[in-house]
């Protein structure tokens, strides 16, 4: 009789080609898919592959997405993008998305993910793929090179940390508020580089985009992966993304009922307030009311974490018929070109621009200080991004607060950090 396994254990066991794994054991896993972007991808791995005189083990299992240095703002970024295009062509990688949006959003949007997969990404927010019931985690460029050469990677079988949510979210409260509350409770190393599984009735009511926000910021909890077991919501999303029904297995990839978890933390969605993280850590989160009256110079809705279609709709619901305060500026960089198209089709985009929002290109942009919208010395910003580390969005003395798209939009109207519930009914 095999002992019950957690979702993480099942996913790792399959990739390692065994029927059972135990936390702590080191295994070698076969990689189903490897994702890279322009910053940590070809420009870094190409010279390494050359040095090794090695070929990519399977170009069909590689996805390359240019999102960090897009659109090019100078000769250096242009040459990074150029190198990426040339490498992809020379290597025979056909799953290439050039300037179509941020990798973590584009990857599932273009139908590359399925429940049960074992995936590595050359980016720390790779746990986002866990929202689809795939074991996905981030690696650095050298380790990515190892995967590209061998198609394998070693890992320590993670313990599972269950983050369980019950209750209904109130008006103007979203997944971003949930994850900031979890960061405040567990801290940025609470995940101990183990696997988090988000579960409970609240999670099952969330859209795929909202689930992605939770899995994305498993990185901020210090976890290796942030999993959510697949269900009908997952299936509907993937069917729309063009994944054949026969490849979507939502029954196998569930934790066994008797599976042992290392830790369990319970949360109640019905008592949750909009949350805001003060500089310089997502773990510095508290109810928005604690930060009211902080004057802001910039409001930013962007990043893989906070500029998906539902994020833009949240912002629009607050901004509808209102204007951005003249003392501030609201910049919006939709997470992908498909997001922009959807937002244009349903009128969301018009609502945002009528309110005075400035639209930026889809890409990482100001989130990590790479592109348009960076901050000057001593400026304060509220952003829907994942991280507010010192100097991340620009000048070293700038300050970044994190909030949901609702809260960022409300703050843009007020010119100071504001509670979105005051603008919704």
């Amino acid at each position: 009789m095999v002992q019950g396994m957690t979702l993480a254990e099942k996913l790792v066991a399959r990739a390692a080609g065994v029927t059972q794994v135990r936390p702590g054991e080191v295994v070698i896993a076969k990689v189903d898919l490897a994702m890279m972007h322009d910053s940590g991808g070809p420009r870094r791995v190409a010279p390494m592959l050359e040095r090794l005189q090695a070929k990519v083990w399977d170009p069909n299992r590689v996805v390359v997405i240019s999102d960090h240095f897009v659109p090019a703002v100078d000769a250096e970024s242009a040459s990074i993008l150029d190198l990426t295009r040339k490498w992809v062509k020379a290597t025979g990688v056909t799953k290439f998305h050039d300037m179509q949006g941020i990798c973590h959003v584009v990857l599932p949007e273009r139908g590359h993910l399925r429940p049960g997969m074992f995936v590595v990404g050359g980016d720390s927010h790779s746990p986002t793929g866990g929202a689809f019931g795939a074991y996905m985690f981030g690696v650095g460029a050298t380790e990515m090179c190892g995967v590209l050469v061998t198609g394998e990677i070693w890992l320590r079988v993670p313990e599972t940390i269950l983050l369980h949510w019950t209750g209904k979210l109130g008006l103007g409260i979203s997944a971003k508020d949930m994850i900031l509350a979890m960061c405040a409770k567990l801290g940025m190393d609470g995940g101990r580089y183990q696997a988090i599984e988000y579960a409970g009735e609240t999670i099952s009511t969330l859209s795929m985009q909202e689930r992605m926000t939770l899995s994305n910021m498993a990185a901020e909890l210090g976890a290796q992966a942030g999993l959510i077991a697949p269900d009908e919501v997952t299936r509907d999303y993937l069917l729309k993304a063009g994944v054949p029904a026969s490849e979507i297995d939502i029954t196998t990839w569930q934790a066994d009922s008797g599976a042992a978890v290392a830790e369990r933390h319970d949360f109640d969605a019905s008592t949750l307030s909009p949350m805001v993280a003060a500089p310089h850590s997502p773990a510095n989160s508290a109810a928005v009311t604690e930060h009211k009256d902080v004057t802001i110079h910039q409001a930013y809705i962007g990043a893989c974490t906070g500029a998906k279609i539902n994020d833009l709709r949240m912002a629009a619901s607050v901004l509808k018929g209102r204007k951005v305060a003249s003392s501030t500026r609201l910049l919006i960089a939709p997470a992908s070109t498909r997001t922009t198209a959807e937002a244009a089709a349903d009128g969301t985009l018009a609502t945002l621009t009528e309110a005075g929002a400035i639209l930026l290109a889809s890409g990482c942009g100001a989130c990590a200080g790479y592109g348009a919208g960076v901050l000057a010395e001593n400026e304060t910003c509220i952003a829907s991004t994942a991280r507010n580390f010192k100097g991340r969005m620009g000048a070293g003395s700038s300050k970044v607060y994190l909030g949901s798209p609702y809260t960022v939009a409300a703050s843009a109207i007020a010119g100071r950090i504001a509670d979105p519930r005051e603008f919704l009914s």
Binding site: L52, G138, D189, Y193
Partner: protein
């Protein structure tokens, strides 16, 4: 990597992140340029004064944040001999070893004095304060990872492995 490293201790707090180690503003340029800004947001003197062989002692969750290897490469570029911390962020830790930078988990790292002259023995994972004689125990690395670090990282390790494979194929 030699088995033992001696250098001055540069001490940092908890949660030193990759944006502080390798700021995004300088990510497009060369590592030499990026390294000049390594840790400047928390210690402007660091990049200017650090000497080859010096030792970075961090607090909990050292290297949290991005997967960018430049966070490790910047320390390497500046000649940092080892990074010691009570805990590391997972990706940074893997990156450090993959690039041949010795990273040791030391639960007592908090007790190490700032500016001390510290000797780090990679194999036994023993740390010793040269002035006070005080010793601290770090967790030894498993032999295969220690070997990978000694070889200069994952790439050198793969190079060896591929060479062996090729010569086997040539013989067959």
């Amino acid at each position: 990597m030699t088995a033992s490293i001696t250098g001055r201790v540069w001490k940092f707090g908890d949660n030193i992140d990759t944006d502080v180690l390798a700021p995004g503003l300088y990510m497009k340029g060369s590592i030499a340029e990026l390294a000049k800004h390594c840790l400047e947001a928390v210690e402007p003197r660091f990049a200017k004064e650090v000497k080859p062989g010096d030792i970075v002692v961090g607090g909990r969750n050292f290297g949290m944040g991005s997967s960018r290897e430049q966070a490790v490469m910047a320390l390497h570029e500046l000649g940092v001999g080892a990074v010691i911390a009570p805990s590391f962020a997972g990706i940074f830790y893997r990156n450090a070893l993959n690039l041949g930078l010795l990273a040791l988990v030391c639960p007592e790292a908090g007790k190490i004095r700032a500016d001390a002259t510290l000797t780090v023995d990679a194999v036994s994972a023993q740390l010793r304060d040269a002035e006070t004689g005080e010793t601290y125990a770090a967790e030894p690395l498993p032999p295969h990872l220690l070997q990978m670090v000694a070889d200069g990282g994952l790439l050198s390790y793969l190079e060896k492995k591929l060479r062996v494979q090729q010569s086997r194929e040539a013989q067959a």
